[in-house]
């Protein structure tokens, strides 16, 4: 119990945001996969990158490298976003020209929103303090 307490005592508020972002990343990956797994727009690479990123980020604190977790999550989520964009762009162009669909589907909006939120929060989180200094 003391070990757990000590572990968290050394962590700053940014670390808790990172935990939240790790959860949100997993949620995003699951939502993306559940909505798109039957679709040609599914990037399993993006899905895998998110999982690997969260896993690595989860391991780093135990290696006393907690301050890098936020960067790993941010980088993984960003790469996933790029892979998602690469796989979905054709759908976007089809909707934009209105040949077949006229409005974006709720599923697309949901996934895009989640990835966008992750991008913004991850960038913000990179600037947050992850561990307390010795004086704190």
């Amino acid at each position: 119990m003391d070990k757990v307490k000590k572990f968290f005592e050394s962590k700053s508020y940014g670390f808790y945001v990172s935990i939240g972002l790790a959860v949100l990343s997993l949620v995003t990956a699951i939502v993306y996969a559940s909505l798109f797994h039957m679709s040609r727009y599914m990037s399993w690479g993006a899905f895998a990158v998110v999982l690997v990123g969260v896993a690595v980020a989860a391991v780093l604190p135990f290696l006393k490298q907690a301050k890098w977790s936020c960067c790993v999550i941010a980088l993984a989520d960003f790469i996933a976003l790029l892979l998602y964009a690469y796989n979905i762009y054709f759908y976007v162009s089809v909707v934009m020209v209105g040949i077949q669909a006229s409005t974006f589907s709720p599923q697309f909006l949901a996934c895009t929103s989640l990835f966008a939120i992750l991008l913004v929060l991850n960038i913000a989180n990179v600037f947050l303090k992850q561990e307390k200094t010795e004086n704190e």
């Binding site: 040609r40 960003f78 690469y86 209105g98 409005t103 589907s105 599923q107 697309f108 991008l119 960038i123």
Partner: protein, 1060 residues
Amino acid sequence: MSKKLTALLQRIAIVAFTVLFGICLVGTIIATENASAINSALGCQSFKTITDENAKDEDTEYYKSEYDNLGQLIEAGAKMTEEAMKEGAVLLKNENNALPLTSGNRNVSVFGIASGDPIYGGTGSGSVDTSKAVNFYDAFEAAGITVNPTLKTNYTSKDKWYTGPNSSSWGSAGSYNPETDYRRYSSGWAGSGGVYIGGVPWNVVKTEESTFAQYGDAAVFIIARVGGEGSDLKMTGASDGYNGDYLHLTQKEMDTLKGLKALKDSGTFKKVVLIINSASTIAADFLYDSQYGVDAALWVGALGQNGATAVAKLLTGEYVPSGKLSDTFWMDHTMNPVNVNYGYWEYADAAKYGIESQKGNMFVPEPTLHAYVVYQEGMYLGYRYTETRYEDSVLGAAKVGNYDYSKVVAYPFGYGKSYTEFEYSNFKVSKSGSRTYNVTVTVKNTGKTYSGKETVQIYVSKPYGEYAKKNQIQVPSVELVEFGKTDVLAPGASQTLTIPVDEKYFTSYDVYGSGTYVIMPGDYYLTAATDAHNAVNNVLKAKGAAESKLVGTATAGMTEKISLTFNDQRYAYSDATGQQIGNLFGYADINRYEGRGNNSVKYYDRSDWEGTVSLDRVNGVPKLTATQTMADDILKQCPVEYKKPIAKDKEKKAYPTYGKSAGLVLVNMRYDSEGKHIEIDDPAWDTFMDQLTWDEIATLVSTGYHNTALVESIVKPETNDENGPNGFNRKYSQDKEGLATRKEIKAGNLDEKGNPIDGKTTDPNYNKKTTAFPANGIIAATFNRDLARKVGNIIGEDGIWCGCSGLYGIGANIHRSPYLGRTAEYYSECGMLTGLIAAHESLGIEEKGVHVYNKHCVVNDQENARHGVGVWVTEQALREIYLRAFELPITIGGAFNTMASFARLGTMAGPSDGVLGQDFLRGECGMKGVIVTDMYTDMNGKQDNSPYFELAYGVYTGGCDIPDGSGHEAQFNAYKPNSAGEGDYADMAWAMRLAAKRVCYMVANSSAMNGIGSTTRIVKIMPWWQATLIAFDVIFGVLLVAGVAWTVITVILGFKKRNA
């Protein structure tokens, strides 16, 4: 700098450059994958030509422009659009000579939200440039009509009546409120987000009543409807249509007409004039309803660039209407039985056989594999139905059922009034040669005031006798076979027209008897008529029907009876190619398709109207069930997706020769050394094609997104092809190969790449767009071949100047239903009228070295489920209506290319259909150019759609040659020969080579060769956007690396410092 600040800056730099680098990199990859499409859209040059100094005097303008500068061309285009509307607008009604508005009686109040926001074209591929378009108000005022300024202000001001949601909100649920949103709108580029009629409630309009009397010479009410690509018009469920019917008057429109009638009755207005600004025909029963009080009605379709000018002049009488309806105006669209069968249905048991598309998921609104529609009406479409059932009704035929013509047809096909009257006389028919009947008729302008033109329509009535009944041949009572138009006739003047009619059009396609076109034994009637209904009345009179039973009148002495004996040989061979004509399309008729299972359909049968025609939209539709053969036939068109590989060669065959240089470049393939044109079957083409490598051929047949591929080795330029059916929608400056740019370069106003030079100015018209013509239904309604050809000439000239050598048009599908979304792009409900007018427009375009891709061959007569809907149709109807519209442009107009339909004939998707492509279009019609698919990139599986066909399969069967897409080379990798030049797919390799040859042949004989001489070389260049993207990639990449390096160095130095 403090450590903290340094760390912060490093972090900011890494984050910023990571994001920028990542976005740029992915953007570059995506853009590069779609480079040809982007080049096409931006008008970027992907190559430059280098010509030997010694050959610079060579005349390389193979297709010369008639115009010296853009100003002349633009002016000619504007005049032509005006001319088209002048002759195409149809005067439906003119009680008490309400029109024209005579001098001194031209103070009018103009009503309708479209008065300030007219319909100029369609949506999607039928959209037209409106930047130069003249609106109603400007046109009226220019014509000397004084309009009520208060109404004008109100209808055009956003803070008055021109109200609606923000652009981004249109189409979203609940954002549009017809009570407060008055403007009309089409949501989405293709209108697929919804089309809104709009309109101002009468009680609101009436608040300005005090201004009406001063402008009371007439109330001009403009009603408008728009449609276009991607979605059909709604019979039910339209957001602001009356009871959801988009083509019925809205409640606001009915209220307005009633209000105007009341004001007319009270003396505020002298008359009510209606302008129907809609390519689609609206239900017109209200024009016979006294409660609405319409005195005059003018159908103007979609206006195009300068149509409004003609409309204004038609109102004042400066122009006299001479247009004739290209479609039937129905009293009520529920009386049109085709509408029962319009849309799509789904095969029962589709899932059982594995053809259930992924319908209902997030991206696919409609099925691509298991949707179907039955053209149950067969031959009885439009006037062929209304007039035939009418004739049978008059003659008391058995099983004609309950049919009251006057409640069905408001204005028949071919109908149109004038401000003057014409009289026909001296009707004679004489035969010349073995098959031409020369119909002579004298037309006299019997009016006293106005000069005008008159269209004489020639219809044939074929015998519906024992032979027809025995062999299930359906015989409409009358069918248009020819037409002629007089010059402008002054009052009292007359003109004798001689109109040759080819006996070929007396034939019927006999599927079950002779399996070819036959002359049936019996009496034929040729009649000169004012419209289809007048024609059938003429024939009825000649047959001895009592005049008292007729609706309308017959014209005496306008019919000739011709008795013919059976002949199944004379027209059994193609005039164009000599190929024997036989049954080809049994697979499109569910009653003949070998995989029909237990399915069968009762097509409309003239001998049993009651038993075959239904007006029941719910139960009156044939239901079909999927079969294993159907599923196999559908799925085989996607060999990779559904793992049904294309068969290997049955025996060992040699592949074509690749890469064997002969020193030939494309320009050499136009004429031989003796100046003789090199035809596509000339052996010289074999030598030429031997030069190409496999990769070059694969690129040629895989590239076609509004272009054809560049091949440096044979000096084949990348070409530009553009929509659309109503003229190119493109800037003259867009493509650097165009005459507009080449002239500017030559004048020193642009550099050799077409970029601006400081201090130099280009022609003020250089950045303007090409001419936009009125709806094709209006072009058809001119019944004027010469005019259609001149329209084509302008489109061709536009192509030369803007740098497009191919037009994705013209649209030759059929107005099967008024609810067709793309009515503005197509011509008529009649295949013959469509074919004849389209032929001459094609001819005019082709004369300029611009090739048409007439679209969409065939049966793309609806937008709903267009991606793969299976159309079941009889071969007789297919040949005599739907294919005739594509046949005549090829055989008469020299149309080079077609665009394949998304729809299927039976199970065969347009671009998969080798029978259609090879046996019909090339074999029977003699088409020489290429077949391009319809937009292919959204049908390649990338849209999460079950693809309806794969390009490799289409090229293999001869159903298509190139995609309207790019980057599909990989589809052909599996068929590539080994390093020894051997393999199992020589048939595929030869098919690819043939498709590539057609592309080369088509381009060699096009305006794309303008500027390319015998010594010209082509060098690929990187377009500016690609260079820019790569530059950004490099910059952000370097900055990212620098940021990381800076951080690492700082960390290392800090670490060393701490440990020191």
